[in-house]
């Protein structure tokens, strides 16, 4: 037996497993997205790009794309920025670092589902702690500064998506902070000495000359994982806005749409089409980020 054949034979079990577990389900989703399949239906019809046409044609799905894009565009930069800021502040502490680390990491450890229920209660228009607090503050301020009515945080389409973004940032920046803390511990200390000798007087100069370039691999990783997690957000929408996806479908995020179409309404074809779109978005974003990182690295 030749060496090549042996290699193939030895690799076969892993290849078969990879095909069965990773590649086939994706292929199945792609194929289903071209059909009108629904669970329990007697027949299955090939509909070509009809499902995709509907996604890009109907206003519901347009809202889904806008909501998802808004969510990702807000949550990713905000949670990365806050994560980095918190990490830098914590690293500069001589004592109490463990306390702040634990506090900021708490939302990551708590399940988002449970935390969202708490947020729902806090954001209740009349009995929620947020509006009550605002009312109390407004009582002290002169008249005319506060609006006559407190916002319906979750019921107003001008607010709902931003509240969801806020919860997303609140929940995920602690994780980025931990990753950045790990990254910061790998920055060679002597570089800061060199930067000082070279005349970098301000903390900002040292950050630009030493810290930020040294954190590039961490930033790359944080960017990719945060983007993927933002795309995957489901719990918040399910708890706060089920069914329907919020006021005027303003919080109709992709993952929630897949669930609603594919599972709740049993429109597997449409669900599969959104899934494929979802995969393409995440993939494209990741490839783009990698390209940028590689070009800058050398």
């Amino acid at each position: 037996m030749t060496q090549g054949r042996t290699a193939l034979l030895l690799g076969a079990p892993a290849l078969v497993l990879m095909m069965a577990i990773l590649i086939l389900p994706i292929l199945a989703a792609v194929i289903l997205s071209f059909t009108d399949y629904s669970l329990g239906a007697s027949g299955i019809r090939w509909v070509g790009f009809d499902n995709y046409g509907r996604i890009f044609g109907s206003s519901t799905y347009e809202k889904m794309l806008v909501a998802t894009a808004t969510y990702v565009a807000v949550v990713v930069p905000a949670s990365i920025g806050l994560g980095l800021g918190a990490a830098l502040l914590i690293q500069s502490l001589s004592r109490g670092a463990a306390f702040y680390k634990s506090v900021y990491f708490l939302p990551v450890m708590a399940t988002l589902l449970a935390m969202t229920i708490v947020w729902q209660m806090m954001l209740h228009p009349t009995i929620g702690v947020v509006n009550r607090g605002l009312l109390a503050v407004c009582g002290v301020l002169p008249e005319g500064v506060c609006p006559a009515e407190m916002p319906l945080w979750l019921g107003d389409r001008d607010y709902a998506i931003w509240v969801t973004c806020f919860i997303g940032v609140w929940q995920s920046f602690g994780f980025n902070m931990v990753l950045y803390l790990a990254g910061l511990s790998g920055v060679p200390r002597e570089l800061y000495g060199a930067a000082e000798m070279d005349g970098a007087r301000s903390a900002w100069e040292r950050f630009r000359l030493v810290t930020w370039p040294a954190l590039r691999p961490t930033t790359m990783f944080v960017l990719i994982t945060t983007s993927i997690r933002a795309f995957q957000t489901f719990d918040t929408v399910e708890v706060l806005f089920s069914p329907g996806g919020g006021p005027a479908k303003s919080v109709y995020l992709m993952m929630f749409a897949i669930y609603e179409k594919g599972i709740v309404q049993n429109l597997v074809g449409i669900g599969a089409a959104i899934t494929v779109l979802f995969l393409i978005s995440v993939m494209a974003l990741t490839v783009l980020q990698r390209r940028i990182a590689e070009r800058k690295a050398l």
Binding site: G193, A195, E196, M197, D198, G199, R201, E205, P213, R216
Partner: protein, 372 residues
């Protein structure tokens, strides 16, 4: 170039004393090495001169003016770090340009995109090129540190230090990450660079060979103190402390226990010497390996050859002598065989005499004509 002087520098971290009072005056254009075993505080002292650390007590003066309270960036010093500390994301040219950009460009000119529009300082590119030519690294200017060998990185670090005209150069074990051959070569280069620039160099090393070969003066440090600061020749031939004598020189100096009787006559085990001390004392005699020789005429010590190293041009022989705590090391042109019994002689006038605490006894006299 400027003078650097240290007055009563002490440094301690919590309960640990690193430096216990350092006084040192370095002349303008002088090359001074701080040498000592690891943990003696020499790197801390250099970082205090640089301003990267503050002394607990004491004053640093550069060019006559006190720089206590002046931050490192404003002391106008250049430093070469042991790890070279090059910025990995910048090219060689950009690395060398950093000290100039930080000093000659304003805040806006340094910004990535806007800075390009505002136009930089053309003198920076010219100065970088000049430094690169001096160190023969012009072909490397577009590479990044990750693509360079250790020796090349070391040159880039030197380039970044000498691209501007600092008051003094501080070098923190710059050769310790190079292989032996490159180290010897770079030693010569740094010395020549010092001659060419005529600048003040403060050089930290644990390698006594580097200190001996490069410096105008050597400050031998141990336990947070400077034991002796002198020219290499005097440090080698006339050490004032046994620890200095033992640290400097390779192979290591031979130390033989000796005793002076009530009349001050000094004797080593098995042999009286024509040396006189002022009175009864327990002493130690230190003899450089080249002062010992194999002889059959009136030998002072006898022992058995325990080990021989062939250096090519000479043999380094270790001899185990009964009654001595450690083997004697000597250099000879004649081959010796292991196990052979040999007789060793030396000129008593060349022996360095130290007291029990390791301090040099300078009042030892040689009596001519006494029984040798």
């Amino acid at each position: 170039m400027a003078t650097v002087s240290l007055k009563g520098i002490q440094k301690s971290y919590k309960d640990t004393e690193i430096l216990r009072g350092i006084d040192l005056d370095i002349g303008a254009g002088e090359f001074v090495s701080l040498v000592g075993p690891s943990g003696c505080g020499k790197s801390t002292l250099l970082r205090i001169i640089a301003g990267l650390e503050a002394p607990t007590v004491g004053d640093v003066r550069i060019g006559g003016a006190s720089v206590s309270g002046t931050r490192a960036a404003d002391r106008n010093l250049s430093m070469v770090f042991q790890s070279y500390a090059l910025y990995p994301h910048l090219t060689v040219a950009e690395n060398i340009a950093v000290p100039l950009r930080m000093r000659r460009l304003n805040r806006w000119q340094r910004l990535p995109l806007i800075g390009g529009l505002l136009g930089g300082d053309a003198s920076i590119a010219a100065d970088v090129r000049r430094a690169a030519e001096m160190l023969e690294i012009t072909p490397l200017l577009d590479r990044r540190p990750g693509q360079l060998s250790g020796g090349q990185r070391q040159r880039v670090a030197l380039g970044r230090a000498l691209v501007r005209d600092p008051a003094a150069f501080l070098l923190d074990e710059p050769l310790s990450n190079l292989d032996a051959k490159l180290r010897a070569h770079t030693r010569t280069e740094i010395t020549e660079l010092h001659r060419k620039l005529g600048a003040t160099f403060i050089y930290v090393t644990h390698d006594q060979v580097e200190a001996m070969t490069m410096s105008d003066r050597i400050a031998v440090m141990m336990g947070g103190r400077i034991l002796q600061c002198d020219t290499p020749a005097r440090i080698y031939a006339d050490p004032c402390d046994l620890r200095v004598a033992e640290f400097i020189g390779s192979p290591r100096i031979n130390v033989i226990p000796a005793e002076a009787d009530g009349a001050g006559r000094i004797a080593i085990p098995g042999c009286a010497l024509p040396l006189r001390h002022r009175g009864r004392a327990a002493l130690r005699l230190a003899l450089r390996p080249e002062t010992l020789f194999l002889t059959d005429r009136a030998p002072k010590l006898r022992g058995e050859v325990a080990h021989v190293e062939n250096m090519g041009h000479e043999f380094v022989v270790q001899v185990a002598v009964a009654g001595l705590p450690s083997r004697l090391v000597l250099r000879t042109a004649m081959p010796a065989t292991i196990g052979q019994t040999v007789s060793i002689g030396f000129d008593p006038a060349l022996a360095l005499v130290f007291d029990a605490e390791g301090r040099r006894c300078r009042d030892v006299t040689v009596c001519e004509g006494a029984a040798a």
